[in-house]
Symmetry: C2
Subunit: 524 residues, 2 copies
Amino acid sequence: MTLTGDLFIAGERRSSGQRFRAYDPAKGAEIDDIDFAGASEADVDDACAAAEAAFLPYSTKPLAERAAFLEAIADEIEALGDALVERACRESGLPAARITGERGRTAGQLRLFAREVRDGAWQKLRIDHADPQRTPPKPDLRLRTVAVGPVAVFGASNFPLAFSTAGGDTASALAAGCPVVVKGHPAHPGTSELIATAIGRAVERTGMPKGVFSLVNITSNDVAGKLVSDPRIQAVGFTGSRAGGEALMKIAAARPRPIPVYAEMSAINPVILMPHALKARGDALAKAYVGSMAMGAGQFCTNPGLVLGLAGPELDAFSQAAAEALSRQAAQVMLTDGIHKAFEAGKEKLAASPYVEKVAEGAEPAGPTQGRAALFTVAGKDFLADPVHLHEVFGVSSVLVRCADLDELKSVLTELEGQLTATIQVDEGDYADSKALIPVLERTVGRILANGWPTGVEVAHSMVHGGPYPATSDGRTTSVGTLAIERFVRPVAYQDLPEALLPDALREGGQGGVLSRIDGAWTL
Amino acid sequence: MTLTGDLFIAGERRSSGQRFRAYDPAKGAEIDDIDFAGASEADVDDACAAAEAAFLPYSTKPLAERAAFLEAIADEIEALGDALVERACRESGLPAARITGERGRTAGQLRLFAREVRDGAWQKLRIDHADPQRTPPKPDLRLRTVAVGPVAVFGASNFPLAFSTAGGDTASALAAGCPVVVKGHPAHPGTSELIATAIGRAVERTGMPKGVFSLVNITSNDVAGKLVSDPRIQAVGFTGSRAGGEALMKIAAARPRPIPVYAEMSAINPVILMPHALKARGDALAKAYVGSMAMGAGQFCTNPGLVLGLAGPELDAFSQAAAEALSRQAAQVMLTDGIHKAFEAGKEKLAASPYVEKVAEGAEPAGPTQGRAALFTVAGKDFLADPVHLHEVFGVSSVLVRCADLDELKSVLTELEGQLTATIQVDEGDYADSKALIPVLERTVGRILANGWPTGVEVAHSMVHGGPYPATSDGRTTSVGTLAIERFVRPVAYQDLPEALLPDALREGGQGGVLSRIDGAWTL
């Protein structure tokens, strides 16, 4: 299919006054095949009005139809074929194998949410029967969750499929029954348009109201703010920088009626090398560390930006092995010119810290927009002396912290800000000491790993891709995995309603095999 | 027992430089038997430090011990006997029957949360087993919720037991595993001290860490702000005015690491008189309406402050019957001098609206701090003309809205702010029209009632005492009922952790009958 560059508002393609172009980071140049439209305030208003108009028809569709819609989106995305992979690679600088894998993840995620919609337990169906004999009489009370309303989704640049237009935020909001207005990421407008086309086809094919989905590219912060402050928008999903997320939080909090912002923002994802593990397999750990750090040009929210170990010959050997692996690491094309510049600036700021030493650098860039890998080190006692050590450097960059002993390591961990992940490399001999670290990590992170690397984020029932501030704006949730659906619903109680006025799922015996709680007892 | 007037910080009684006295609203005078201490910033700091120190020991106690602690609090509150009832009546102006009922509710609530702790489903135990054969290999992922950390609770004046020192917020936070620092309400300091004594005894009796509970009376907004901005506090529970709740929200949002505020603030709780019901039993509805409105001197968050019906002879008759009932309504002692003055000012503001007509007034006050009941009316077409009609008047005051037709009634409902409740009075002939109102109400309120009155709030699994802004600051939750525990936990995922490092409840077969989700399937 041919790209039009138009906005996609409730099934209608529309051009606008503002134009911009996509960028090919590998070539370091604009892609001049097409001009993309940037939305005006009126366009955003129309998208929100369409989402509001679609809310009731969409949220009251039978769950089976909602699930079929999600599956149809997955099918239509796959049906885009090579055109999608080619465009996404060109706009992101990411290799085809990675984009192909991400497409599978994106379709699989939509299908998982379709199954979750059918499972239905997220409705939290509860019934407490009346007891008219009690003093005072006990009323009949029933509870379920309802969709919150239209949701604004701000896609990320680093996963142009899985965390963007039809990514986890969109999938979980649609699963919850909420229409979605996506603010497309300007780093991959052609990719977004292809995905919007697929969603549009799924809308038509499954007879959903057209306003259930709109894509607006927005080139001005003011217009983006308008989307968040629009009174019809009831929640915001965002993946991106801390500055961006915090800006949206401020706008949402200043509304006459504040709304939740689920912003996944910033993390350095500590990895702890426990002594026995380090001794037994330091060399292998060092290589795997560099592999995880360099994956996708280091542009993962879960990139291991911090490694902590106990100073000594084993850690020196680890450092040397990591330095060797890193020095062989080719420079990689980064997503955008802006991200590349921020990466270079971040490394410079780190290197300028009087406490930090540069251990190694990767191969020199061989083309535009390429980031050169870097490994730094700092002593545990100095780590907390300069907040620059705490800041995420988005790209292939990491800091090795040499701690004097486990107490110092624990005190560094205790002082860290909220993180998406923490990883411990452990052997059996480390279990006793590691056990004491778990409660510290539980207070700071969303996911604790052992003997692995944080860069893979499985889409599963048990995944938490979240964590305390500033990893996310709201540590009570996750943006990956089925629990993400709970972000876009809220509970409503029904007291003494006649059967005729109750939602079907709350009628006597109407739970249809969905997990429910009847008079306190769980039942299937 | 004799009151000391001291602060209660982690089991230690402590006086302070600032003193204040309790107030007897029925007499309109200070209670001069004792001076109460007001906390300094240092006192608040100590309470937070003790809560933080207690967090790990408390949150890692076996659930059975945590449940026994909650039950011990209930026992110790009951063991306070008549002294508690007498003091609470004297400080609140509420009658003994009401306070005795509220004590039962408070103890029952603690015992319900004890059962909920044992039920354990709120831990959201999930296990997704590994699949090493998959490409890429699928990791082992497990999930549970953990307590968020120390919680600050701001008690309410209108329920000196059930929504105060050992009320719903404290009970649900303790149930979740969070130490609590209560900012005692200055309207009932003696009542709070008695309750703190009971909790202290339960702490001793069940061997809990002392910092799990502190009570600080605070007489300055600055010191109260210090409690919310203390970095050790991880969530806030509040019941009170919109101005108060919004002030806490601002402080919490401005922290370097923002935290959730669960503020239950303001509602006018619309009641809809559907035509058949109005025709069949208008007179009985009018009497019940005034009864609900006047309960507890109108000082219920769920007071029916708004009644909507279709203009015509039936509504006129309803209005007249309500006016008659109201004119016989005795003036009642209100909780505090400040609340009484705000009530009088609120009625005056309403009466000053050019669209509003006063229908009836209750009997004249016969003593200090007594509020005189009032009923107003406004035409549906004028209701939205002045925002003053939307504002809660806390006390025995309500507005009857005369709508031209169902469309006008629906448009008034659509424009309402978020509410705790909405009630429809329906007969069978009203079902078809009422059905269309349910989706409107679901977007606006936390609880929908039929053929009842909103002032009773059952403590149950299916209760939602919450609702969209400004009914509460966070419509995703409830402050009454077992679902309230979810406010004070957050999910953590564990990836590939060796059995030795996993929490007991996530070990293979370690779920002990608690509702869990294993590889996607719900199991008990």
